[in-house]
């Protein structure tokens, strides 16, 4: 049965996922084309000075990308379920309703994770070519919250889209608007590293939140 659920979710998000993964990889590559350009047209010493002492970030292009990708994938995945209350079809399948929702979540979050991982590995690999550890380790610590923001966006969008009660939907939207920007605050490179584990736990906790919306739908709340 899980194969059936995965097939359905894949049909909904495949184009969004592939386009996002493509844009993600191209964006990482573009960051390093710019690095190469700056190193070539200024001096390497000057460029490193700019990164180490002036708070320069060679990866700033990637800031909003995980969030935008997660938003697109979550909408592609969950919005079709709410049109004409199509989620009833999913809940009527011969499997536990929470299990159905968690399979949907697991597939969406899993594919997002894979596309983030591809970007991350490419980013790390290219950083290793261009920079010493003193530069790229803080850089990685700086981009982690952006990926966390992506997962938070995905979880909260699922929660909001599936929610049948408008007052809750608005409440969740306010929570999302307040929470996600916390992960995208402008900070010095590596400035987020002390709070990264705490933020990761918060994002993880939001993972199961779509079950609340599913429960309310099944109880007929409007």
């Amino acid at each position: 049965m899980w194969k059936g659920m995965i097939y359905k979710e894949w049909l909904k998000i495949r184009w969004f996922l592939l386009i996002y993964a493509g844009i993600g990889i191209l964006s990482v590559v573009y960051c390093f084309i710019r690095v190469q350009h700056d190193i070539t047209f200024s001096s390497p010493n000057g460029y490193w000075y700019f990164l180490l002492f002036m708070g320069g970030q060679y990866f700033s292009l990637l800031k909003f990308l995980p969030g935008i990708g997660a938003l697109a994938i979550a909408i592609a995945q969950y919005f079709p379920e709410t049109v004409s209350k199509r989620i009833k079809l999913t809940f009527h399948l011969p499997l536990n309703e929470n299990k159905a929702l968690l399979t949907m979540w697991l597939f969406g979050a899993g594919t997002l994770f894979i596309s983030y991982l591809l970007q991350f590995l490419l980013f790390t690999g290219l950083s290793l070519i261009y920079f010493p550890g003193d530069i790229f380790v803080p850089a990685i610590s700086s981009i982690l919250p952006w990926f966390l923001a992506g997962f938070a966006c995905y979880n909260l969008t699922a929660l909001i889209v599936l929610e049948p009660v408008w007052k809750y939907r608005i409440f969740y939207l306010i929570v999302a608007v307040l929470f996600v920007p916390l992960l995208l605050q402008s900070a010095l490179t590596d400035g987020f590293s002390p709070v990264n584990p705490f933020m990761a736990v918060l994002v993880l906790l939001s993972s199961f939140s779509l079950l609340f919306s599913g429960y309310r739908f099944r109880k007929g709340e409007m």
Binding site: K8, K88, L89, K219
Partner: protein, 296 residues
């Protein structure tokens, strides 16, 4: 083991403070086709939602094959085919993808009736369901239910948006299938002529109450309409015990009742009501429905 596929006991539901119904009892025999009729807002979709576990009633319970519909097990859900109002399906899939998807969930899946129906549709193999007409979508939804081979079919307003040809096709296919394989059907439709060809039992709901629940042929035999013209147009028979409904335009009267022609005529005579042109009117199910529930 109960002889009923569906049993709803003392069902009461409110939307906010508005009462939908109180202490509603429904029983659907295994192998029978029950049509739930009611005006808009009488609680048809509410009942379907409770039956499918998408709405928790204020009190009372519905059982399907002995299980409370609020907590149906996957095994029991596999025995129930569900048609959502408007033939809603996964519109982003085409007819091959949707068959492949559902086939993974049902052990008894038999795609033959599905492809038989699909062969009658003029759709391309890659055409998405979202681009199909309502009639074509109805055949996809019906084909999927037939392939699932459920023991109980719950159909919410299956005639919605269908032209007469597709409605007839849907009903004929469905009745043939249900009778050949001893399936139980619980259905609503706002086009009552359709029900006449399909159902064995009828359940007629009005706001907050059940007006009739019985064998449809028995109901049609026993429920009658009499037309007469009275001399005194101010006469009002609506409060009489034997009158199920009473409609009057000037001196022209329609009486709906379960009583015999003889009884009605005797009543009129014994109460000194002068009348002429007394006539028993033959009714279809739609006439009987309007007769019982009233025009307003």
């Amino acid at each position: 083991m109960s002889e009923y596929a569906i049993e709803c006991n003392n069902l009461t539901h409110y939307y906010g403070k508005k009462l939908v119904y109180e202490n509603l009892n429904i029983k659907v025999r295994e192998g029978s086709i029950l049509g739930l009729l009611g005006k808009n807002g009488a609680g048809k979709t509410t009942t379907i939602n409770i039956l499918n576990g998408f709405l928790q009633p204020r009190s009372g319970e519905c059982l399907i094959y002995g299980e409370n519909t609020q907590h149906l097990t996957p095994e029991n859900k596999a025995r129930i085919g569900f048609l959502i109002e408007g033939h809603v399906q996964y519109a982003f899939m085409n007819i091959h993808q949707i068959e492949k998807f559902y086939s993974k969930f049902y052990d008894k899946w038999d795609n033959e009736p599905y492809w038989q129906l699909m062969s009658k549709l003029k759709v391309t193999p890659t055409q998405k369901i979202s681009t199909m007409s309502c009639g074509q979508r109805s055949q996809v939804a019906l084909g999927l239910i037939l392939a699932q081979d459920p023991d109980l079919l719950i159909l919410d307003d299956f005639s919605m948006g269908l032209d007469p040809g597709y409605r007839r096709l849907f009903i004929d296919y469905l009745r043939e299938y249900a009778k050949a394989k001893n399936k139980t059907i619980f259905t609503t439709s706002h086009i009552i002529q359709d029900m006449e060809r399909l159902i064995d039992d009828v359940l007629i709901m009005d706001y907050n109450r059940v007006l009739a629940q019985r064998d449809v042929n028995e109901f049609m035999r026993e429920f009658k309409q009499f037309y007469l013209e009275v001399e005194n147009p101010s006469i009002d028979l609506s409060k009489e015990d034997f009158v199920a409904n009473f409609e009057k335009v000037n001196n022209k009267i329609e009486i709906y009742t379960y009583e015999s022609e003889e009884m009605v005529q005797n009543f009129l005579k014994s109460n000194g009501i002068s009348y002429k042109n007394f006539e028993k009117i033959e009714m279809g199910l739609e006439d009987a429905f309007i007769g019982l529930t009233g025009k307003y």
